[in-house]
Symmetry: C2
Subunit: 154 residues, 2 copies
DNA sequence: TCAAAGTTCATGCGTTTGCATAGAAACCTA
DNA sequence: TAGGTTTCTATGCAAACGCATGAACTTTGA
């Protein structure tokens, strides 16, 4: 017997896409991004979240951008003094990315304001129980299945 | 005292972003799209869903793309014979978009395969109850809230 | 009724993106 | 350890994008 979740699954996915598009547009329209794009901020945010230096490939897994585009985005951030490329001592191919103090400060500035926007927009529609469910459910969708090879750090 | 859902709201939003990025990447990597991009397919899908002709501005509200970029995306689809521009008889500025039979057929082909992918990917992680909750919650986030009056300064 | 303001879509132009691929380092097998 | 394969990042180049603006049309208000 089929579970028949196909229709429901597609409806859920479409709803997620719509929610994503609506909110991203709303956030993008806000005046919180100083002189960088949301994608650039996303990179700063990811780096700020991790204490350890992050490799470009690792970043590539978290960001919706092709590897060459990400490489060039990093170029720009380096050129602006927000980021530094450091060779990975353990792997000559790899590149570690580290925020400069300036980059960290810019992330904080934007982050504070953006976090408020996010909270305002989302709590306007969802109660705490729904927030919690959404986080749980999207968490399940976000974690990469299969491909279990090595399980090293975060 | 505030309800303090700020942290939870931001966690939920980050989870939604991660889920979105993970799944979009996965779908994009699949060999489903024939000779068009996911954004182009998205436009065909939206047009196929509505029986009535859709105006570009209406489409713009549903798609995460600037208006000029959308206008040119439509150009390309028209040039490929998948779409037609029709003047809106009721508003000389407006443009109605209609799928050609070829465009409708292409949407169906891609859509069938893509819908299966979506169902496979999502039901692998979520049970029916979660699917339902996700659809409900994202539905709330997706619907554009009533545009309240702006309270900008004097 | 008509000029000013607003709306809708298209176009010019510089920037960013993706695809294909190159280059360098690590890995693997004999 | 050499040779082939795989992994990781960068670069050439054409396509696509966003911002600013233009052109055509509608709406508004005196």
């Amino acid at each position: 017997m089929k579970t028949g979740g196909t229709r429901l699954a597609n409806e859920a996915w479409e709803a997620l896409l719509s929610a994503h598009a609506r909110l991203v547009k709303q956030f993008a329209a806000e005046d919180t991004w100083h002189d960088l794009s949301m994608r650039e901020y996303d990179v700063l945010y990811t780096l700020a979240k991790n204490a350890q230096p992050v490799r470009i490939g690792e970043l590539h897994r978290r960001v919706l951008l092709s590897q060459p585009a990400l490489s060039r985005l990093v170029d720009r951030l380096v050129e602006r003094g927000l980021l530094r490329r450091l060779g990975d001592p353990a792997d000559g191919r790899g590149v570690h990315l580290v925020l400069t103090e300036s980059g960290r400060e810019k992330q904080r500035q934007i982050g504070r304001q953006h976090a408020r926007s996010v909270a305002r927009a989302i709590t306007a529609e969802l109660d705490p129980a729904e927030l919690h469910q959404l986080a749980i459910i999207c968490g399940k969708l976000a974690r990469r299945p299969a491909q279990d090879k090595e399980v090293s750090g975060p």
